[in-house]
């Protein structure tokens, strides 16, 4: 009755070949967690899915009313509502998955205390599952595209790598914040504020070109800048392709944060339970 399985218990855990083998072993669990999160979110709610669409929709309406005229001239002939909604879509994906994954360990503490599985599955399943909500909200974008008679082209396929990089960046941030939050519970209070400020530092409701030239370099250190601009271009193809430097920088920083966040999380995952 030997299965040949087993594990070692050590004071520290790190990202190593063991780590990848373990993730593979628990792969079914990742899928189950994602499925469970989605099911739990949509079960027992009446408007369920509708809420995720209402939020960006409402914001878009507000932005259009108050800022539409201000930014119109910077965005060419792309209707402002489309411009804003496109930005909001990606932003909401990032913002929600970051907030949820940051607090995720505490939500699952009843499980983490009783049973073992690689803790990273918790934030990972949230970050992956958030894409599902994104797709739901994208339906409205599709409708808006039809309404405004805007055609899409092959550049739409670029969405895939953009989403991938966005979620990897989110995962890195989320892992980092989740590990901190499990130990120091005031981290979660900082997150709504962080997200609000961050949104203003991202070209969600305004184009990046609105930012004065001298700040542009510093401004582009925020990976969401390059990602949002690229995202909008991929869908609407309005105006020039955003500067490759900014996209390149976004991808580089995004991936670096991913690696660093995951490594940090792995290092501390063994003792998270002690403070949950």
């Amino acid at each position: 009755m030997t299965s040949g399985m087993g594990y070692e218990v050590r004071p520290t855990s790190a990202v190593s070949r063991e780590f990848f083998k373990e993730i593979w072993f628990f792969r079914r669990l990742i899928w189950l967690f994602i499925w469970r999160d989605v099911v739990v979110r949509y079960k027992n709610t009446i408007i369920g899915a509708a809420w995720y669409v209402l939020q960006p929709l409402a914001m878009m309406v507000v932005f259009t009313l108050f800022f539409g005229s201000v930014f119109k001239r910077y965005i060419g002939d792309l209707p402002y509502p489309l411009f804003a909604y496109g930005g909001l879509l990606l932003w909401q994906l990032f913002s929600r998955s970051l907030s949820l994954s940051a607090g995720s360990l505490v939500v699952y503490d009843y499980m983490l205390n009783k049973i073992y599985f690689p803790r990273i599955i918790v934030p990972a399943s949230i970050v992956i599952g958030a894409v599902f909500d994104f797709l739901v909200t994208a339906i409205l974008l599709g409708l808006m595209l039809i309404y405004y008679h805007v055609a899409v082209g092959l550049s739409l396929l670029l969405i895939v790598p953009i989403l991938l990089v966005t979620q990897m960046f989110t995962m890195g941030c989320g892992c980092f914040l989740a590990a901190l939050d499990a130990r120091h519970r005031d981290v979660r209070h900082a997150i709504p504020l962080l997200m609000q400020v961050w949104m203003f530092c991202t070209p969600v409701m305004y184009p990046a070109s609105y930012v004065p030239e001298k700040w542009r370099m510093f401004y582009s250190l925020n990976p969401m800048v390059g990602l949002t601009e690229a995202f909008r271009w991929a869908i609407f193809r309005s105006g020039d392709l955003p500067p490759l430097a900014s996209i390149g920088m976004a991808a580089a920083i995004g991936l670096t944060v991913f690696v660093a966040g995951v490594a940090f999380f792995q290092k501390v995952q063994g003792t998270l339970v002690d403070t949950l």
Binding site: T2, M5, V9, K114, R183, H184
Partner: protein, 406 residues
């Protein structure tokens, strides 16, 4: 290493106690980064230098007083938490049921949670479904599996969790205090099932306060005391040592008057506190002897309560019909010898503590802690379904009265 299921080497686990009694904020993080950790008043070692080898098929019981580190050891061995030092190697698939709680997600149904449980063990959906019927039947949960687990009573959820832990294909199983799950018949069933699993070669690590269970199931025992492994031997040896320690802890461990009161009034010491026997049968009486030394005559109140293995109060002793949980006594100067008999109405197969609190006129004067265990004389009978069921045996004595009238 082939026939070793668990090898532990010098495992240690240190916890930091938060000064503010909660989780630290970021300011504490900064302070700690700039300061130096190391051993200090805010740390304690829950485990220190634990080493042992457990071979495949062994059934190892882990004994120790409350807070000795038993649950911590299991948490470390099952990777719930990392050790601070040392390492361990576990060979084989692991199943566990730790402490009270199930690890189930309340919004998912019982069926879905069983699948999750299987996935955690690395089983495929097909493998889990193969065992599904047996799991449901053992847990007596037929018909409830499509309800969300959040709607189950705690008993139902625990039975299901226990059933899952036992049935899924684990080679090494960790069980921590699972013995309070379910009613008597269920506990008996659990026991029989574990015996079957043991016979099939699985390795078990069991934590239980119930010495009977340890005696009957385990092939080996580890004794923990304040985080260190003080003994590793046969159940008989270890249980003997454990009982000795309990007895030692309980004899006259009263604390003399504190606060440096020199007035003498209310100054009382416990010279001796003991029970007639530390193994009582349910339904009988527990006799407690107390010898008090009083510096001056006066009134004292004696609080007597019974606490279970987890420190919860299960009964308090009152005087007469008063609802107050203590007795008032008037003592004479010098030695006072007291005794009382407590009816044993507590569930069998458990260890309890009789906690004595003596208060003089100026507050808590002395305290004693007397452990005892409750056994039940039981007999196995066949129930309506022909299954063996363990029931309490009550001794009765028929007495012939006056002849029966025609």
């Amino acid at each position: 290493m082939d026939d070793i299921a668990i090898r532990a080497y010098s495992l240690g686990k240190r916890y930091r106690i938060r000064e503010t009694g909660g989780v630290t904020g970021l300011v504490d993080l900064a302070r700690r980064r700039l300061g130096r950790p190391g051993d200090g008043p805010n740390q304690f070692w829950a485990l220190k230098d634990i080493s042992f080898d457990i071979r495949k098929g062994e059934v190892v019981g882990v004994l120790g007083h409350n807070g000795a580190g038993k649950s911590t050891l299991l948490k470390v061995l099952t990777r719930i938490t990392n050790p601070t030092e040392g390492w361990a190697r576990i060979n084989g698939r692991v199943g566990m049921l730790l402490e009270v709680g199930t690890g189930f997600h309340p919004h998912l149904t019982g069926r879905e949670n069983v699948i999750v449980g299987g996935a955690i063990l690395g089983m495929s959906r097909r493998e889990t479904l193969d065992k599904y019927d047996a799991i449901v039947e053992f847990a007596e949960m037929a018909g409830f599996m499509d309800m969300p687990v959040g709607h189950y009573s705690s008993g139902m959820a625990l039975r299901l969790a226990l059933s899952v832990a036992i049935h899924l294909d684990a080679e090494v199983v960790f069980l921590d205090e699972i013995w309070a799950v379910g009613d008597h018949a269920f506990q008996y069933k659990t026991w029989r099932r574990i015996e079957q699993l043991i016979a099939s070669g699985r390795t078990f690590v069991i934590v239980a306060h119930n010495l009977q269970i340890i005696e009957r199931l385990c092939t080996r025992c580890l004794l923990l005391d304040h985080g260190t492994l003080t003994m590793d031997g046969t159940p008989a040896e270890v249980i003997g040592r454990y009982r000795d320690e309990l007895r030692r802890r309980s004899s006259g461990s009263g604390v003399p008057v504190n606060g440096g009161s020199t007035s003498g009034a209310g100054g009382v010491d416990i010279v001796e506190a003991r029970l007639d026997t530390d193994d009582v049968r349910r339904g009988e009486r527990l006799h407690c002897h107390l010898v008090l030394e009083a510096r001056a005559a006066g009134k004292v109140t004696l609080g007597l309560s019974v606490r279970d293995g987890m420190g919860r109060t299960v009964a308090v002793c009152t005087q007469g019909e008063q609802p107050l949980p203590w007795s008032e006594l008037t003592l004479l100067t010098g030695r006072n010898s007291l005794r009382c008999a407590i009816p044993v109405v507590f569930p069998a197969a458990n260890t309890f503590e009789l906690v004595l609190e003596l208060r003089g006129e100026d507050g808590l004067a002395a305290y004693a802690d007397l452990p005892f265990s409750v056994t039940e004389h039981e007999v196995v009978v066949a129930d309506a379904g022909g299954r063996g069921v363990s029931v309490p045996a009550l001794t009765v004595d028929w007495r012939v009265e006056e002849g029966v009238a025609e």
